[in-house]
């Protein structure tokens, strides 16, 4: 059988060998922890502690600021030092709670959970909501909303997105290898919400060991199956993974639920397990610290709020001065102008490169080669959109489906003339979205 995939896409250098064989190691933060109140899509969380308060590990320090929002928990014990704006990975200044770590890691007592069989659907969703879980693949959409669509009986597939298609990233890979039972457990919890759904673990075929392990684990689970996907970027993009696993295609104005699907990333599914089975809120995540500037590339389990400087130190520091540091993968991550930013719920990697190949390239004339069209998973014509964006031509941009772009970066990657296609289109999309809101 042909491997499942989508149309378009690229095969960038994957760099995963740097860190894929390094087991997950815990990082205990030494310095202050910073909790931006906006680590998710939606309204910022509201602080419920004040300067000078003592907090425990696992204590809620900010509550959801609206329906589309998520609470935030302290990940160490210590004292609230300040509530002030701090720089985050996107370069924005975001109101944040700063906690001075006392190094004791005193924990709150987590609520005892009933066995899963006795829990109602409402209770499960409440657990996920209270735990502050958001999409940890990068989007940061509150997970409880994904888990409570209007018509839960119409959901046919609950997909665990185990593609990890971004180059260099190995955090999901290590999680699947080291704690596959939690992944399957989390998927089982999600399946309890959808009576007619089947669970799918969708893994790219560059991780045969994970596929084998997961297959072994689910062989007695009639509702869960493992699906092998072709290794190709952006296989893990939500719309692409839905198409690859189910053959259903949705556009940007639809939700996965419209295609009868719910998609969650590996770390998110594991967080659901922690919240519903163990009663623990979302407090940590796996972060891959990698790149050719890092002395000892590794995968860490990191308490949210930990400063990136500490992660680099834990990975042996820099063996060579980095020129570019990216939070996330090289295709969709954010370039940082310094390391003084906190780990948030959506940070999957810290990539430190000794060379900034992009700045060395000078864009030349478009020769209309069509490679951007060939690789675009959104099936639009990036060349036309980028020109329209550069000219501020809204009409052409919209009529050529510019809003269907998922900003995956394939067109810029492949362009032989090194034109900033994604960048142009991305700016225009931001402008159009802002206009829509007004």
């Amino acid at each position: 059988m042909a491997k499942r995939t989508f149309n378009g896409g690229i095969h960038p250098y994957d760099g995963k060998d740097l860190s894929k064989d390094k087991p997950i190691k815990e990082v205990l933060p030494k310095g202050d922890l910073v909790y931006p109140l906006s680590q998710h899509i939606g309204a910022p969380a509201k602080p419920i502690v004040e300067k000078g308060d003592r907090v425990l590990t696992g204590q809620k320090i900010a509550e959801a600021g609206g329906f589309v929002s998520a609470p935030i928990y302290a990940t160490v014990s210590g004292t609230v030092k300040a509530i002030e704006p701090r720089r985050v990975v996107t370069g924005d200044s975001v109101m944040s709670i700063i906690i001075e770590n006392d190094g004791l890691y005193e924990e709150v007592e987590y609520p005892k959970r009933k066995p899963l069989e006795e829990m109602t659907k409402e209770e499960i969703i409440e657990c996920v909501k209270e735990a502050g879980i958001v999409g940890m693949g990068g989007a940061g959409f509150p997970t409880f909303i994904k888990l409570s669509p209007k018509e839960p009986e119409k959901i046919d597939y609950v997909i665990a997105n185990c593609a990890e298609c971004e180059p260099y990233l190995t955090s999901d890979y290590r999680r699947m290898l080291e704690e596959p039972e939690k992944l399957v457990g989390g998927l089982k919890v999600s399946l309890k919400l959808f009576d007619n759904a089947r669970g799918i673990l969708a893994v790219e075929d560059n991780k045969p060991d994970c596929i084998e392990k997961l297959k072994e684990l689910v062989k007695d689970e009639p509702r869960i199956s493992v699906k092998e996907l072709k290794t190709k970027y952006p296989q893990g993009a939500e719309r692409q993974i839905i198409y690859a696993t189910t053959g259903r295609a949705i556009n940007s104005s639809m939700l996965p639920a419209d295609a009868g699907c719910v998609v969650n990333n590996v770390d998110t599914v594991v967080a659901i397990y922690h919240a519903v089975i163990e009663g623990k809120p979302l407090m940590n995540r796996i972060v891959t610290v990698t790149g050719d500037a890092i002395a000892d590339p590794r995968n860490f389990i990191v308490r949210i709020g930990t400063n990136y400087h500490e992660l680099v130190e834990e990975a042996g520091g820099f063996k060579q001065e980095p020129v570019k540091v990216v939070s996330g993968g090289p295709m969709m991550g954010f370039a940082l102008f310094n390391l003084d930013v906190p780990t948030t719920k959506t940070a999957s990697a810290l990539l430190c490169l000794t060379e900034d190949e992009v700045s060395q390239m000078e864009p030349s004339a478009c020769i209309n080669c069509g490679r951007c069209v060939e690789v675009c998973p959104g099936r639009v014509v990036p060349k036309i959109l980028a020109v329209a964006a550069a000219h501020g031509d809204e009409e052409t941009f919209l009529s050529h489906d510019g809003m269907e772009c998922c900003e995956c970066g394939c067109c810029s990657f492949i362009c032989p003339a090194k034109r900033p296609l994604t960048q142009n289109i991305k700016s225009m999309r931001k402008l159009m979205l802002a206009k829509k809101k007004k």
């Binding site: 295709m331 370039a335 310094n338 490679r371 489906d401 900003e407 994604t422």
Partner: protein, 310 residues
């Protein structure tokens, strides 16, 4: 780490392919045809090739110097144009034909329209047609040391017998680079292997022409006649190296199929109903002019908007 790091928008990595790399691959892919042309027609062919390439490159260089623009001859696109144009000249043409053609291709067809990527017509073909109209007797004189008389296609048109094997190998009269089907196909394989072109345009073009001549050629499903049409004249060179020119072919997939069909029909009409035995150059040039319209009606549907089943 006191200094600020470099920041830019995603993606932060790029593929290895470059415009220069693509153009150089095309030049390499044209070498078998050029080499056979030199072998077939003698050293004069080499001279004509060199003069024409020098003319295109120098024209681009001087134009950019005079207009105080960035000099772009390093991208090899002018070399491709010069080489293609030379391969489209008869070996009997005097050297100044190559110079005039080269200047016309680069100056009029390419640079005056904005340079690389902006020309609406293939520069080499534009120049060839210009020469064909202006210097008809020179451009259609295929007499040379090795061959006298007409091209196989002209013989075919006047009802004479042609030797298919000679046509496939290239031992016939014709322009420098068009005679050998084998050499051109070797070059085409290089382009396909390196992902420079695919078979969408050449495939539909050749198949459409085959169907067209079998219907309207008054020979029916006569294989020798059809193969003579496919291996004769500028079809192979045109289909693989000129119809696939990035700048002047549609960018959409569906558009490329439509374009191939259109070229096949036009070539068939020109060859069978026109006064000349040849029709590839004019067919591609007219095709070039229709590209904006073809693109307009063949824009792909965005993912999830009916392009794929929902």
């Amino acid at each position: 780490m006191s200094e600020l790091l470099k920041v830019s928008s995603n993606p932060h990595v790029r593929s290895k392919s470059t415009t220069t790399g693509i153009m150089m691959t095309v030049v390499i892919a044209l070498l078998p045809a050029a080499g056979f042309g030199i072998y077939n027609f003698g050293p004069k062919a080499l001279l004509l090739i060199l003069v024409t390439v020098a003319s295109t490159v120098l024209t681009e260089f001087l134009f950019e110097k005079i207009c105080k623009k960035k000099v772009t001859i390093g991208d090899f696109s002018a070399v491709v144009t010069g080489l293609l144009l030379a391969l489209n000249l008869p070996v009997s043409a005097p050297w100044w034909i190559g110079v005039i053609g080269g200047v016309f291709a680069i100056l009029v067809v390419k640079m005056l329209f904005g340079g690389l990527g902006q020309n609406f017509m293939n520069p080499a073909l534009g120049a060839r047609c210009f020469l064909l109209i202006s210097f008809t007797s020179i451009m259609t004189n295929f007499d040379c040391d090795a061959y006298t008389g007409a091209t196989p296609l002209a013989n075919l048109k006047s009802g004479e017998a042609v030797n298919i094997l000679d046509m496939v190998i290239g031992r016939t009269a014709g322009t420098i680079g068009e005679t050998s089907m084998i050499a051109i196909v070797i070059g085409a394989c290089i382009l396909i292997l390196f992902g420079i072109i695919d078979l969408r345009i050449p495939g539909t073009y050749i198949v459409t022409l085959a169907i067209f001549v079998s219907i309207f050629g008054a020979h029916g499903m006569d294989w020798p006649y059809i193969s003579a049409h496919l291996s004769g004249g500028g079809l192979m060179l045109g289909a693989f190296f000129m119809a696939t020119d990035y700048v002047t072919r549609p960018i959409t997939k569906k558009g490329q199929y439509l374009y191939g069909v259109l070229l096949g029909i036009l070539t068939g009409i020109f060859r069978i109903f026109g006064p000349s035995a040849e029709g590839v150059s004019y067919a591609i040039i007219i095709g070039n002019l229709l590209v904006p319209l073809i693109e307009k009606i063949t824009l792909p549907k965005a993912f999830g908007k009916g392009g794929e089943k929902a």
